[in-house]
Amino acid sequence: MLYRENGQFKTSYRADQQVFPILQDRVAIWGLILLAIVAVPMVAPEYLFRAILIPFLILSLAALGLNILVGYCGQISLGTGGFMAVGAYAAYNFFVRIDGMPVVVAILMGGVCATVVGVLFGIPSLRIKGLYLAVATLAAQFFTDWAFLRIKWFTNNSSSGSVNVAGLNVLGFPIETPAQKYLFCLAFVIVFAVIAKNLVRSHIGRSWMAMRDMDVAAAVIGIRPVYAKLTAFAVSSFFVGVAGALWGFVHLGSWEPAAFNIDRSFQLLFMVIIGGLGSIMGSFFGAAFIVILPIVLDNLTVALGFDTALAAHLTYMVFGALIVFFLIVEPHGLARLWSTAKEKLRLWPFPH
């Protein structure tokens, strides 16, 4: 009886259009955000930040971006890693080449560059669909992999091919300790999650979803395919580019193109699928699952006494099997489990 919408009347348009119409949801979300901002930095050990929390935040931002494209607009993309790389390297160039460039601006500019590249590689989507498009987006992946490895200008002529940034600070506050890095990423994720949530329930989000569900019918009712598809590519690439810049600047510190290879693209796609296509919440669930799973598996196989090579192979097997298992058992992802749980809670304690 604790979780229900009975009696929560909406007396103004403002109240009617809230992101979370149910009071309990709002309380829970605010509680969660407070917990993440205040409590976690105080209690979490350093390992947790480095290995789990920071990767989780950044990858959920990237998954959010990919989910806009794949989940909301129905355009399959396998080039996410490439767009992340564009974001990271563009941000690096802005940061290094312009004196006194603030980190946040550099990261956002990385996102802008990724947007441009994303729209460029999104143009084929106007002609081709589905699986053909998936392969076409791989072109972005391989091309960026190559470009950042071979074209010296992008890496500021670094001899080793890897680039690094140091001494980050925002308005005089340093971003050095894991807790500071965590808060920095958290700020980005919260802002972008709010933007994403509002975009997908607005006019533009609805045109994406119409495009996804049936493009021909959407065109008939007056949604311009060019506009809908390209904006989806643009917004998605922006998110992904920012995530890429964060991944390079904050998580890795120094990186080379291999950090954004095709495995990263697959990993992000898994997050979106396992978390739930077309769900903001799902992107977070998926990211958490994919970040934590390999760590658990690695520890488990080593603890069981397998040698490392065998453990790596077993991790691969379990990972593959779990993906298939998820697709079969819950094709709508973890987000569906969550909404089922909410449905049950509404009726609780009565079954009907």
């Binding site: 699986l131 192979h313 993906i323």
Partner: protein, 309 residues
């Protein structure tokens, strides 16, 4: 000129091998509408099985004839691939009937991960050799026309003949046999096919077995050329643009697409590569495909899909 021709022939040969892997993709897409990302993993798995069985067979059975050992290994590897096909149908695809294309694509990605790990767990992850007795000595052609002649690998010639034979056989199989027609019917609309009494599960096992067979052939040819190792599964990524270029549903398209991209890749690498820093082989195929798709969205030989409201 001699160098150009040599590059050209080299490109044709590697293109033939891409085509072989691509045929596996096309077969499965043509017969079940599943975009099988796991084809590369299947090539690796089949090649690993073949390499290890041909090593184990003489020891276990006390044979000394290499031919018989290879034959046994081939049959055993084929049996393993059929088993894999059956398991994939039973455990994965059978449960995902009527799901969307992307779900099936993701499922094959899961299969890829599983097969990569599984193959290396049971067969080991070293580099193995497959020796099926393909001649290795090079052949020099047109020695009178060019200085030093044009170097051609005999192995490549055999590979080309095998690939051509495979294409002819598969085309006939799809076009003229009852099973082939059933496969095409399922690809078109599997609900309709089921409702007229085509057993979906059996069709899927058959087509995945055939794809396993193609993977085995491709694996043997690649393996005897370069050795069997994990990088073989990366082949799948080379074969993807080939499939798309040729059209997802055309077996000859896969081979022609393979040849075109193989040649383009080698020529561009040799003649354009040095200007931009080399290594453009990696993306050349994909960018070409991107441009072709802008003009012909269904690929060179694919069926045109018309949307009607």
């Amino acid at each position: 000129m001699g160098f150009f021709l040599e590059t050209l022939i080299g490109g044709l040969m590697s293109g033939m091998l891409y085509g072989l892997v691509a045929i596996g993709f096309v077969l499965i897409f043509k017969a079940s509408g599943v975009f099988n990302f796991a084809q590369g993993a299947m090539v690796l798995f089949a090649a690993l099985a073949m390499a290890r069985f041909s090593e184990w067979a003489p020891k276990l059975l006390g044979l000394d004839s290499k031919l018989i050992a290879n034959l046994i290994a081939f049959v055993a590897a084929m049996a393993v691939m059929v088993l894999v096909a059956w398991l994939i149908e039973k455990l994965v695809l059978g449960k995902l009937v009527n799901q969307e294309g992307i779900t099936l694509l993701m499922a094959t990605l899961g299969i890829t991960y599983f097969l990569d790990g599984f193959g290396q767990t049971i067969f080991g992850s070293d580099i193995y050799k497959i020796d099926v007795g393909l001649p290795k000595d090079p052949l020099f052609l047109l020695e009178s026309t060019f200085q030093g002649g044009i170097l051609v690998n005999k192995e490549d010639l055999y590979a080309a003949v095998i690939a051509a034979a495979l294409v002819v056989a598969l085309s006939i199989f799809f076009q003229y046999t009852a099973t082939g027609r059933a496969l095409r019917a399922v690809a078109d609309d599997h609900q309709a096919a089921q409702s007229i009494g085509i057993p979906l599960s059996r069709v899927w096992v058959i087509v995945w077995s055939v794809a396993g067979f193609v993977a085995l052939v491709a694996g043997i040819i690649w393996g005897s050329k370069l050795g069997v190792q994990f990088s073989l599964s990366v082949l799948a990524l080379k074969a993807l643009p080939v499939v798309i270029l040729g059209g997802l549903t055309s077996v000859p398209g896969a081979i022609i697409g393979g040849l075109l991209l193989g040649v383009g890749e080698k020529l561009s690498e040799v003649f354009i590569g040095p200007m931009v820093g080399g290594g453009i082989e990696i993306w050349f195929g994909y960018v070409v495909v991107l441009l072709v798709l802008l003009v012909r969205p269904q690929g060179l030989f694919g069926e045109k899909i018309i949307d009607r409201v």
